[in-house]
Structure formats: C-alpha cells, structure tokens
Symmetry: C4
C-alpha cells in the first residue's frame, strides 16, 4: 500500500468530476502523480463512478508498468503518462468531454482569451492541436495524443504551467495542475470560459481578445511572486 495517498487523491477527484457537470456518462478521468517516485494513479477503464473505491485505482510507473491494482487502467493512460514525462511540474491530469470545450476542439479553433475570467486561469489562448495523422492514430494512439499536445506547446513557445489546458482536435480537453483539486478546478474554469466564448462569438463573431495588459494584470494578480489575491 505504498501509494495510498495518490490513490485516495485520485479517487476523490474522479468522484468530484461528475458533480461539476463536466462529465456525461463516463467520459472523464483524473490521474495523480508522485513525481519523485515517478508513478501515478489513474481511474480504471469503464467502471461506473458510483462503484469506485480507492483500491480500484491503478498505479503505474512512468514506463507504463502497473505497480498496484487489479483492474485495467483507463484507455487514456498512455496520454497521461506521456504528459507527466513531457510537462515537468504537473502533478495531476484531468480529461473530460465537457461540451463547450469539445465544441472548440471539434471546430479546430484555439479558445481565445476574451476576458478576465479566462485571464484569471490561463495566460493566453488555449491551443487546439493539429489533426493527428493516420500513422499516429494507427500506432500508439493514446501516447501519440500526448506527443501532439506537447508539440502544440513547444512549437508555439507556450509554457504549460501558465496555460494549463489544451484542446485535442476532434476530441476534447485535457487540463492539469499541481494537485487533483486544482486540475479539476482548471478543467471547470476551461468549460466556463469556453461557454462564455461561444456566447460572445454568437453576438460578436469578430470579438477581439482581451488586451495584453489586461491579460498580464489578471493572470499575475493571482499567480507568481506579485500575486495579491486570496489570504496567503
């Protein structure tokens, strides 16, 4: 039972996820890593949320070997594993098919930063990945999904700690953070700003992004050494 702590954190976040309204049917999963031990816990595949227990969580190492657990891990496990390897500093990954974020993924559009709600969580637009090739889809599909995610951040010079979410084209969102609770909160914030953006674009298709000085102000009001939000 050496990894009980991340299994518990993983269970709680997977149970929290449907309560946020982000998850229809069973379209969602959360994983939680212990980066020093290079392992992570993830939800088993296709199990109903109301039956999940901490010991159902599957623990794998960063090479993909199961370390603890009897069940088959989520089919999206290789995506999570690759993200932990590529994005240093993240401790939890959340995947949903939340509807408004999916709309941008299906439209093949970045989610633009249109206002301060977005700025409070993401320092700029949420990138949408390129279409995956037949080779990528036909090969190690779930692993390649994360490779394409990492490519979107690297090719555009986006820091995944400042923009902690992505839209996988024709698929849906992934979000991440320093804890499962924060990653779930970020996935929820993503859906909220996607919903706001759809409404905004419906009344103003050419809406401009928030100006850079407003984006910087709001993001750094809450993040980094100059933050002055909250009680800490």
């Amino acid at each position: 039972m050496s990894h009980q702590s991340i299994k518990e954190e993983c269970l709680q976040a997977n149970l929290e996820l449907p309560k946020t309204g982000l998850v229809d049917l069973t379209f969602g999963n959360v994983s939680v890593a212990d980066p020093k031990a290079r392992v992570f816990a993830i939800k088993p595949s296709g199990v109903d949320y109301d039956k999940l227990r901490a010991d159902d969580m599957v623990v794998l190492d960063y090479d993909g070997q199961v370390v603890e657990g009897e069940l088959r891990p989520s089919s999206d496990t290789p995506t999570h594993r690759c993200l932990y390897r590529r994005f240093e500093g993240i401790r939890s990954v959340v995947h949903t098919h939340s509807r408004s974020a999916v709309a941008f993924a299906q439209a093949g559009r970045d989610l633009p930063c249109l206002g301060t709600t977005h700025c409070d969580y993401f320092h700029g637009a949420i990138p949408c990945t390129r279409t995956m090739t037949p080779e990528e889809v036909g090969g190690e599909y779930e692993w390649e999904t994360a490779v394409v995610i990492a490519e979107a951040f690297e090719s555009r010079g986006i820091d995944p700690l400042n923009v902690p979410a992505v839209l996988v084209r024709n698929h849906g969102p992934f979000a991440w953070g320093p804890s499962a609770a924060k990653a779930v909160e970020t996935a929820l914030a993503l859906e909220i700003v996607a919903d706001m953006a759809i409404k905004t674009l419906s009344i103003q298709p050419a809406a401009d992004p928030a100006p850079q000085h407003l984006l910087d102000k709001h993001f750094f009001r809450k993040h980094g050494p100059g933050a002055y939000y909250g009680q800490s």
Copy 2:
C-alpha cells in the same frame, strides 16, 4: 405472466428516461423485445411516468396483436414493431423528443460526426430521413415512419448496428440497442453529441467531420473483436 422479464426491463427503462433529461412532459417511450418469441413490451399511451407499473406495459407480437395488457399501447407502437422486423439484432427501441437531436431533425440535416464522443457510439453520421409523403402520413403513419427509417439505412448502406440511431425529419430521434439500458444510453449519447454539434457549428459553420481514421479508431476501440475499452 410469461413475459414478465421484458415488462420489467421496459418499465425500468421508461422510468429511467425522464431522469436523463431527454424527455419533456410525456414525449418519450421505450420498448423491449424478446426476438425469439417475436414479442415486445411497450409503454401505454399518455400515462404519467410516476404512475407506471410493470403490469401497465403492453405486450404485442410482431404482427401487432396484443398478447398481454389492458391499456392502449403507445401511439408509436407500429414504428417500434416495424423496426424490430426490419433491423435484425436489436432488442430495445427508444423514442424521445430530446431537444438538440430534434433540432437536427427539424433542420433536415444529418448529425455529422465531428469528434470522438460521437465516434465512441456511432460509426459515422446519424442519418436524417426524407420528408414523408401525404400518402404515407395519411395511411398507416406510424408504421410508415419505420419504413422510411429503414429506407434511410438501406439506401445509404448504413448498418443499423453500427449507427444505432436515426433522426426522423420534422419529428425527432429513435435509438436502439441490445438492451433497454444500452438503448437509453445511446439515446442520451445522441443528445449529447447533438448538443456538442450545435455548439461547434455556431463557432465554425463549416466544421469538418472527424477524419475517417479517427472515427474507425474510436469506434472499434469500443466495439467488435479488437475492442480494448472497459474491464471485459
């Protein structure tokens, strides 16, 4: 009481239906067949959901004769009966007026496959039927509805087991499956992907369908001999 099992399954699914949010007022019904016995159970017409009991379900044979039950069956009964005769391998049919699916039916548009949420349930676009003629509507209307549904699948070469739903033009959706629970789940998945599609088209009216290789990957990841989703 020879058909108690399908009456119970039918009752449970009819009670489940309003909880999914798919049904406004009393716009919905589920039937469950016993294909070997060539009979099916269906909800009675215009009875409030909170008063339904298993013995209120009406059992008919595939020729339309009532085998068990005192109440008048749903006015849509001939549509269900015809579908059981035409689509071999289905065991339950669900009809709703769920709002986003109805929007596509009213728009006279196929519901395009825009992303993996759709691919996970349906191997391609959900067809919208042609307009029914005055003769079809003036004749055995509910039966003819299913004839037009079957025509949509046959004329386009779509396998109803791989695309287990349809949009009846200016009317609404029907979905089906190997059990009532699965047919209800499919009706819910249909509404979810219709909602996602409306949102997608609002921000990108010319959104492309998901590429064929992504569609194949996701559908066959969950269906058929190569499936690797879930615990089985």
Copy 3:
C-alpha cells in the same frame, strides 16, 4: 367563499408555475375563470410565491370589479379579463416571461411550426402581435394588450382553441386552456418548442415549416373527434 374552487385551482397553478422553470423571479401569473358566473381568480401583484395562500387570490367579475379578496390583483389583470371576454371557451390564462418564447417576442417573429412536438400542441405557427402604438400603451395598456392579441388571431383567421398561445411583441408569451393545469402545460410546451426552434434556426436559418399534412396528422391525432392518443 362562493368561489373557493377557482381560487384553489388558481393557487395550485401559480405554485406549479415556478417549478416548471418557466418563471424567473416573479415574472408570471395564472388566472382561472368560472365562465358561467363570469368571474375569474388571479394572483395578487408582486407577492412572493412561497407566501401565497388560496385566500390571497383576487376574484373579479368580467367587468373588472373585485368580488373577493383583500389584495391588489396582478397588474396584468385587464389582459386576462379581456381574453376571457374575447376568446370563448377558454377557462385559464397563463402569462410568463419564459426565455426562449420571449426571444421570439423580442425578435418580432412568429414561432414557426418546425416539427411534431409543436404540432402536438398547436395547429400552426404561434403568432407574434404587432407593436403597440403610443396611444395604446399610454391608455389602458394592459387591456389594450389583449385587444392587440385578439386582433392577431382575428386578422389572420386563427382559432385560439387550436393555437392556444401568443407572443406579445417586445414582451412575452400568454397561453390558455380548458383548465389551469392544461394552460400551464401549454405554456411549458410553448417554451420547449421555442427552445427547439432557436436551436434549429441556429443550424439551418432557412428551415422549412413541417409540411401541412404532418401538422394536421399530429394535431388531430391528439385533438378533436378523430383523436387516438391516450387511454380515453
């Protein structure tokens, strides 16, 4: 206590209204008439729903005199009174500001009949009234509102018993029926089909109305001597 029955029916319907989701804040009211006695009961003005009692209902005669009740009746009372005088055969009137129906009223558009959900309740488009003149608004405004409603039906030859709802331009919907429960159900059906129509028009701005033969079939399947829906 000679009008206790319509006061009770009126109270129950006014309490039911917020549960339908049709009413935001206190934007809604129901009245119930006793056409033989030429009186009707209506909600008092600006009283919270959770404090309403049957004896708070105000009973007025068709000439506008208060017959029973201590409170000031709803400011919309003259609209209800005029409708009872103009539309023979109705026993209850419901007014809401339900959001999707309001959208058509604000757009100055009739709500087109796009599918069978609409056909099941309304034999054709729901008319939107013309803009009221400064004289009408500056005079007996609430009474004139009903005069303009009646004009919309008479000038277009629409039978208010076959199309039991209207959209008052730049204002919102009124619905009516043979009982308060049926009038509330009709107000709910109106909002549902308005929501479906908004979604339909968003993906197909030129969507055609349902064909006349389909409209006739569905409406008369449920209404009139040839009806075959339900258990009666």
Copy 4:
C-alpha cells in the same frame, strides 16, 4: 461591533449569490454600505462561500482604511469604494462573472433593451465601458475600473439609479441598489435579460430595441411616484 448590521446583510447576500446560479467557482462579491457613516462591508478575498461568517466581512471607510475585520478584503474592493463615492444613493454593489452578461462585456457591446423584462429593471440599454488603457490597468487598476464605469454613465448622461448595472469591457457586470437583496436581484435580472438578448439576436441579429413608449411605461409602472405594481 458597531457595524454588525451591514456585516450581516453583506454575509447573507454573499451566501445568496451562489444560489442564484450567477457565480461560478468564487467569481463574485457583494458589499453593503452605511452611507451616513461612510463605511461599507465587503467579502474577504478568495474564501470559500461555505466557510463565510459575518465576522469575516471586512469593513472599510470611504478612504479605504480597514475599520473592522482581520482578513484581506476582496481584491475588487477599490472598485466598490469608488462606486459608493461616485454614485450617490446606492447602498450595495454586486460583482459577478455571470455568463451571458460577460458575453456582452467580452463582445464590447451595450446590452440593448429588447423587451419588457429589461424595461421592468433598467430604463434603457446597459452600457459597456470603453477598453481600459495600459496606464489605467498598470496603475490603481481596481479603482480605475470604477472611474471608467462612472465615465460611461456621465459621458452618456445615464442616471445610475435608473440603469443600476454596467458591463466592464472584457471583464463582467456590476450591479447596485438600495439594499443587498435588491442589488442581487438586479444582478440576476441582468443575467436573465442578457440570456434573452443572446437568444433574440441569434434568431434576429438586427432586432430593434423596445419602443421608447413601452420602455417608459414598464419602467415607471414599477418605479417612481406613478408606480402601480405590488401591494404598497
């Protein structure tokens, strides 16, 4: 405990706010002033709603000095303080990121007065402020936000008591009123009419505002010496 009354009123309104559906995550705050004493109570920054107590409210004077309370006040405090100084006659200010109102703020559009639901609360369009300059954002940002709000009202000759809300560009709404309950109700009415406006514009992008005579009628039916709505 000299300001217990406004702290209690402030707490109750902050607890009411999430129940209205106006607030996602912790995006919202309410303050309540005692204009004679020139002080106001406001929510502390970044504290979960379910842990708030009256003594957590922070009381500041109109010069920005904390008079009571241990916690750091909301980061939006200078906006509230400036509004109390500029808009004589208001006693409570509410800030939310309610989604439909945010859409207009992000679109940089005034919220037009399209119907009587709007007229009942606001005597004309809700103004959207101009974009704040880098100097304003880089300086006393939250204070300057209110300066830009006041400019929108003064430059257009709008009376903030007759139009008790504003949309801050690329940010979101503020609403105010004579009490916290009324300010929260106004914030809710704002979101409702924004939602109705989005739906209206989706089916009629060129929808005309409600005519002036209708606007005057509905606003003054509920406000000012000629009001005849409610029981008083």
